[in-house]
Subunit: 320 residues, 2 copies
């Protein structure tokens, strides 16, 4: 992270101590020791929660846990900040990747002595590899639809008022970049770190939206959190990864570019797009098949199910 | 341009002829011979003029000529399409670069037998190297302000109703990209290939906004147009060049990305930003010093002049 040898922690310095920094945050021009980096990280999460009025201390929060650095760092920080946060894990049925990440999520839940709800996708629906095989949709897109659906359903049924996800600044910027390249107003008018609750939809928040990937990895390492280090095998070739590489090139030359791109969007442009779309938006309905909230007659998951089952039916008929 | 050996011209094919293609346009998946590329280029320019209602055959057009491939290709295409177009050249006083480009512009004007108006910046103001030395502004930004000012002033005084500039798709996309990274609504709400005339401002149009850099270079080469091949020495390190390199990476992987980013912006987003800004815009005034149209009390060129002259004054006082 470009830390020069001998650089001292800025916070320790103000207290008259000369501690070597172990982290340098270029976009904030900030060098910190381990202790003050952890403090800085948690303060930044708290500030983001307040800035976007995400939730209060008396609310029941459900953290969507993947077993990766971001969601575990988020869960850890929320607990340390005194929030009432449990975990929710969806076993997507992606072989070793799912097995390992589930074990790490369980281990962390035990360590912090909190409830981890586990849902197995193969019991509810079909596992991701089957969906990938039977539909033409990119796996990441189908997976997103499914995770949002079950997270919302379970959070509501279990009595949580907020769902918190571990999306970090790099994730948000890559998505914003992709939506901007296409000027997709449907997505751009909804890309905000808080989506308020409405008719069956639970409030959704992203408290790490101003934390970089590197920062959440460091926070996890400094807190001895074991997390799954490899990417989901289905994410290979995803355009978000391509955009991340490109944006990293820009960030390296001009530290702060990502944060500015994202923050200025939220401040200046999101409200304009939101107002524009509000004039055209369809009302929120209930899916005719499952009854979950949906903007279309039939929700995304039921449509996906139909697609998979049609393929399976054709296969059965052919093999008869 | 990724042309495979033996590929035939698509237009010739439809006429039953098998001519080897010499150009491949990946974003249009189009392979063409020299003759049909020239035809395609001119049709595309004509289509753009019509799409944005830029001007008619009975209007007097002034083409801003730099001596580069874009402005000379534009001038050539407009004449071939039957428009009434003269040229306007500003000698910026940048040593060899200006000398060479002026000669090439004059040579072309003679070839097409059209008027080329020449203005010498050192007689009107200060040459670019002096401005670069005496102010803290990036040279490209000052140069842009100056060119727009004199182009507008002369076009109006000489009785032209439209100014046409050679900005191509790559230029426009790089500027759009930079403005988007910063979400600069002032610029974004004005980035359109036609700026209508108002109170002293002549209409300004960019008929090559859907033509790539490579396409305008090829068109110039195929028409034996001699143009200045090297970049202005002051443009080194300009952020627009950095963005171009980055966007080229994207384009190479996903041909058509640039055109889509630009076209969708114009269609879907520009109208929203324009309407939003229109509610806040200050009225157009006249500069208190020179009387030219300006949104501020004092126009950009008069402010620049003041800055240069203050520096020269200080220098004279110090050396006394």
């Amino acid at each position: 992270m470009g830390l020069r040898k001998g650089t001292k922690c800025r916070i320790c310095k103000t207290k008259g101590k000369k501690t070597n920094a172990v982290v340098f945050l270029p976009q904030h021009r900030l060098a910190l020791c381990k202790e003050h980096f952890i403090e800085w990280f948690e303060k930044r999460v708290e500030k983001t929660i307040k800035e976007f009025r995400m939730f209060h201390k008396n609310e029941k929060i459900l953290v969507s846990v993947s077993g990766g650095k971001d969601s575990l760092a988020l869960w850890n920080a929320l607990i340390k900040l005194g929030y009432n946060a449990d975990g929710f894990y969806i076993d997507l049925g992606i072989g070793d990747y799912s097995e390992t990440s589930k074990e790490l999520a369980k281990k962390f839940a035990e360590r912090v002595n909190k409830t981890l709800h586990i849902v197995e996708l193969k019991k509810e629906f079909y596992p991701i590899p089957t969906i990938d095989e039977k539909t033409n949709r990119p796996a990441c897109s189908a997976c997103g639809v499914i995770k949002r659906y079950y997270m919302n359903k379970y959070a509501r049924e279990l009595g949580y008022s907020v769902i918190a996800t571990g999306h970090n600044l790099d994730d948000e910027v890559a998505v914003l970049f992709g939506n901007t390249l296409q000027w997709d107003l449907n997505y751009l008018s909804r890309q905000y770190p808080v989506l308020r609750e409405e008719n069956g939809f639970i409030r959704k928040v992203k408290p790490l939206c101003k934390i970089t990937e590197k920062e959440s990895a460091l926070y996890s390492v400094f807190n001895n959190i074991e997390y799954i280090e490899y990417e989901c095998p289905f994410s290979e070739g995803a355009s978000s990864i391509e955009y991340k590489l490109l944006l990293n090139q820009l960030e390296e030359k001009h530290p702060g570019t990502k944060l500015k791109f994202y923050s200025e969007f939220l401040k200046k442009v999101y409200p304009i797009f939101k107002e524009f779309k509000a004039k055209q938006d369809k009302p929120l309905n209930k899916c005719k098949i499952c009854g979950e909230p949906s903007y279309s007659e039939i929700c995304g998951v039921c449509r996906l199910k139909r697609e998979v089952e049609n393929k399976l039916k054709i296969k059965r008929e052919v093999s008869r």
